[in-house]
């Protein structure tokens, strides 16, 4: 299925403006001079009070404390060939090309990573990060530290090609910060620390502002562990919404990579028609495996949907219907609709059925809104009669029915005239828009 186009909203634009403000600060000469480039400080000397070199910086350790700018907790210093941990409290000054100790001698401790700590050079530099404001996946070319109050904090991440070239260049120029395309750290979603325990270190507020299509873009661009970590951080409903927006091939891969239980939970949380599409793309064995892991009711519904061809009315429809029996009061219907707030996009009309489940009428929300709350839905049953198709109707027939009736949706009924689904006009549009001729290249060839 073609991806649903998403309309730009003012929100991301505002974020971009904010980012430019941050960038302005970082590009300011005095600030830029005070920035410590992580790539630059690695390899620089650590000197004691007397100015004698006692070791060389090997890495910087920071603690993911949930705040926007993680504090540095210490340095990994190589003394001879041995790596040792230097708590930040022992550091008197840190310059781009030198670290000075408070004391005359270095208090050596073996480095042991404590929970929540991240070794920046090893775990973050050169790895993927999510730029939440720009909604894209970036790779860290360099990280910048700055003195904020009493602490050294991680303030920004450099994503420019220039910084890569600087790191490739001669060593004596390497420590000079080149804040060119720098993202403020507060606008970045980093990933965890150790392989195997990769998870989002702080569930960014910014992440929650993303629209499903934006999350889908990010999921498509991330590596395997990172995308599972991002899924972990998302609310299951939000994750399912995002999955609905993903390219079919990418979704197929994601579901295959994910543990069965999670994949099943995600698919079960998707809208039934999208979930059925996703399942169709998997092999029969994988499909059966996922259906087995779902709640029985959901699995049954999806299995029923899967019996229809993707090109037919049955394949286009959603099974999410609001159905009320004849004789229901308008007030009861309204209460019922209130429970459906979450699915408002899929609820176009309310179906009235008689005792044996056959379709009586398809009521517009507008009519229900104007009707007297104490009245019965029976009073609203009148021509025009519902626009219906059978599940095996072709796309052309569905389009023809919609065009003839000028309706926003058609009801799909079975042989006994019982409603089994609804096709919304937007799903028809999706089906009619030719899949964008686009080149999908293995994401990971890099």
């Amino acid at each position: 299925m073609a991806r649903r186009p998403s309309l730009p909203t003012p929100a991301p634009l505002r974020h971009r403006a904010e980012r430019h403000a941050h960038r302005g600060l970082l590009t300011h000469r005095s600030v830029a001079d005070a920035l410590i480039s992580l790539a630059g400080i690695v390899g620089q000397p650590v000197r004691n009070q007397a100015g004698d070199e006692v070791g060389r910086v090997a890495d910087v350790v920071a603690r993911w404390d949930g705040g926007p700018y993680p504090p540095a907790t210490g340095l990994v210093v190589k003394v001879g060939r041995r790596p040792a941990f230097l708590p930040i409290a022992q550091v008197a000054t840190m310059k781009a090309d030198e670290v000075r100790l408070r004391s005359a001698r270095l208090d050596l401790r073996d480095f042991q990573r404590r929970p929540g700590e991240v070794v920046l050079g090893r775990d973050v530099l050169d790895r993927q990060l999510v730029d939440v404001d720009g909604v894209r996946v970036v790779r860290a070319s360099d990280l910048y530290l700055a003195r904020v109050g009493l602490a050294w904090r991680l303030v920004g991440v450099d994503v420019s090609f220039q910084s890569l070239l600087r790191r490739l260049g001669p060593a004596r120029r390497r420590h000079r910060a080149t804040p060119d395309r720098v993202l403020d750290w507060s606008a970045v979603q980093p990933f965890g620390s150790q392989p195997g325990e990769l998870r989002l270190s702080r569930s960014s507020q910014a992440l929650k502002r993303l629209r499903p299509s934006e999350v889908a873009d990010l999921l498509e661009e991330l590596g395997r562990d990172e995308r599972q970590a991002l899924l972990d951080a998302l609310d299951p409903g939000v994750a399912a919404d995002a999955l609905e927006e993903m390219q079919p091939e990418e979704l197929e891969q994601l579901l295959r990579e994910a543990p069965v239980a999670r994949a099943a939970a995600l698919v079960a949380a998707m809208e039934p028609d999208e979930a059925a599409d996703a399942l169709r793309d998997l092999g029969p064995e994988e499909r059966a495996e996922l259906l087995d892991a779902m709640p029985d009711e959901t699995a049954g519904d999806l299995a029923a949907l899967l019996t229809f061809s993707e090109e037919s009315a049955g394949g286009l429809m959603t099974t999410h219907l609001v159905t009320v029996p004849v004789g229901t009061s308008v007030q009861a219907v309204r209460d019922r609709l209130r429970e459906e707030t979450e699915h408002r996009a899929d609820v176009d009309r309310v179906l009235v059925i008689d005792d044996d489940g056959t379709l009586v009428d398809d009521l517009a929300l507008f009519d229900l809104f104007l009707a007297d709350p104490t009245a019965s839905v029976d009073d609203l049953v009148e021509p025009p009669w519902p626009v219906t198709v059978h599940a095996d109707a072709s796309l052309e027939e569905v389009v023809a029915r919609l065009v003839d009736s000028r309706a926003a949706s058609v009801v799909v009924v079975d042989a006994a005239d019982r409603p089994i689904g609804r096709i919304l006009a937007d799903d028809v549009v999706d089906a009619l828009v030719p899949e964008k001729a686009k080149l999908r290249f293995p994401r990971i060839l890099a």
């Binding site: 050169d126 790779r139 395997r224 543990p259 090109e311 080149l439 990971i444 060839l445």
Partner: protein, 455 residues
């Protein structure tokens, strides 16, 4: 199709027969079982997991596709040249190279399955930036060499049909570029694949050509070195065309990109090993078929001579069949290789992000792709013998291969990358020997070349 059975909709049924994956669904010995497995939820029954991978591999078989990439224009030229110049004498080398290739491809597939990442991405994350840059530069040079050889292949194919390469190569470059950029490449890809199938005729030709099987057996089983410069250079060309960095990239990427993980690995490994050996049997068939018909007649001079090897199968149509196969294999790789290079570089440098969604809005990616096509086509137009050019690009690949192999070996030796799937001590020894031998050959060619300048 309006059939009500959606399960028949896609050719993904497990009973599709593709060589390479269907031999044995049982557990492969020594395959790592858990460790990196997912922790969420109850573990899936192993059986369905395995069969799941079987479905994917049976249809797509990345191992076979990757290894068969070695049988492109450069490969055909090199193997045919080996057969023409030295008869069956290079066959023992093919056995050694196949062992090395299996070892290397297996490591690449394992890296792809256990990390879910491609090789360039892993190298960028695991090595110092300068080392990573070295790897990327080597990759660019190797792949550019490959692009040159593919366009040379296109030129040679059209010359068989009497079309000058000064006409065919620029047009082919333009058409391929336009097809990729404007998005109709997918259809062309299938056509090229079909054309490339013409080379299935080689194993048949190897049998119908009545080679001296006793000699074939002896030369395969026992090493027969020929102490001459042409033999050494051809040996490196064989190594270069068989163990191409592109194949390792593709292998890792294809496994990771299909979502095949640690629990699918036993089958991935089987596919890799069987696919690689199958592709190398085709390569050996090229040498045998060519040796049987024109063996010992000296260095291969033209594509026309190479085509003679297929005469036992199709007689006078050999030239046409060879031309069609060469065109298909060359055109396919001429688009795919620059694409994969551009993708790898963009992603490693982090300069382009939405490559897969907005192709034409990615100027750096597009620029890299275009530059490779232009350079590849331009070099292929330089005056001189196309077959020589083809073999020289493979020698270049042979010189670069050890560098990339070294990176792969280090990655596969690292426990922090692969966890319990890391190279075992014995495997490590074998793999190190393979890389060392390939490196030695490359060094020998460099020394030889430098020495010849001094003289």
């Amino acid at each position: 199709m309006t059939a009500l059975d959606p399960f028949e909709r896609r050719p993904r049924a497990p009973n599709v027969a593709v060589p390479g994956a269907l031999g044995d669904a049982g557990p492969a010995p020594g395959a790592p079982d858990d460790g990196a497995g997912p922790t969420l939820g109850p573990p899936a029954p192993r059986r369905t997991r395995r069969r799941r991978a079987l479905v994917v591999l049976a249809v797509l078989g990345p191992g076979l596709i990757a290894a068969n990439a070695g049988n492109d224009a450069g490969g055909i030229a090199t193997y045919a040249s080996a057969g023409a110049q030295f008869g069956y004498r290079t066959l023992f080398l093919m056995v050694l190279v196949t062992v090395a290739l299996v070892v290397v491809q297996e490591m690449s597939a394992r890296l792809g399955a256990f990390t879910g990442e491609g090789l360039v991405s892993l190298i960028r994350e695991q090595f110092p930036l300068r080392a990573a840059a070295l790897a990327v530069v080597c990759l660019i040079v190797a792949n550019l060499g490959l692009v040159v050889s593919e366009f040379a292949g296109v030129g040679a194919a059209f010359e068989l049909f009497g079309v000058s390469r000064y006409l065919s190569v620029p047009i082919a470059a333009l058409v391929l570029w336009a097809m990729v950029v404007f998005g109709s490449y997918r259809y062309a890809e299938r056509m090229f694949l079909m054309l490339g199938l013409a080379f299935i005729a080689y194993p048949v030709a190897a049998i119908l050509g009545h080679p001296r099987w006793a000699a074939v057996g002896a030369q395969t089983a026992f090493p027969h070195f020929v102490a001459s410069e042409p033999f050494l250079i051809l040996a490196v060309a064989i190594v270069g065309t068989t163990i191409t960095p592109y194949m390792q990239l593709y292998q890792a990427a294809a496994v990771a990109d299909r979502g095949l993980g640690p629990e699918d690995y036993p089958l991935v490994r089987l596919d890799t090993i069987v696919g690689t050996i199958a592709a190398e049997i085709v390569s050996m068939a090229i040498i045998i078929a060519t040796a049987a018909v024109i063996g010992g007649t000296g260095a291969l001079g033209s594509a026309e001579d190479a085509a003679k090897a297929l005469e036992p199968v199709v007689g006078s149509a050999a030239k046409a069949l060879f031309g069609i196969g060469l065109l298909g294999a060359s055109a396919l790789a001429a688009a795919v290789v620059p694409l994969s290079t551009a993708y790898a570089i963009s992603e490693a440098a982090g300069v382009e992000r939405s490559v897969s969604s907005k192709f034409t809005e990615a100027p750096v990616f597009l620029g890299l792709f275009t530059a490779q096509i232009v350079i590849g086509a331009a070099v292929a137009l330089a005056p001189g013998n196309l077959i020589k050019l083809l073999i020289n690009t493979q020698v270049l690949n042979g010189l670069i291969a050890p560098v990339i192999l070294g990176f792969i070996l280090v990655l596969a030796n690292r426990r922090e990358v692969l966890g319990d799937a890391v190279n075992g001590p014995r495997f490590r020894v074998v793999a190190t020997i393979c890389v060392a031998v390939v490196s030695l050959l490359a060094v020998a060619v460099v020394v030889q070349t430098v020495a010849s300048w001094i003289r």
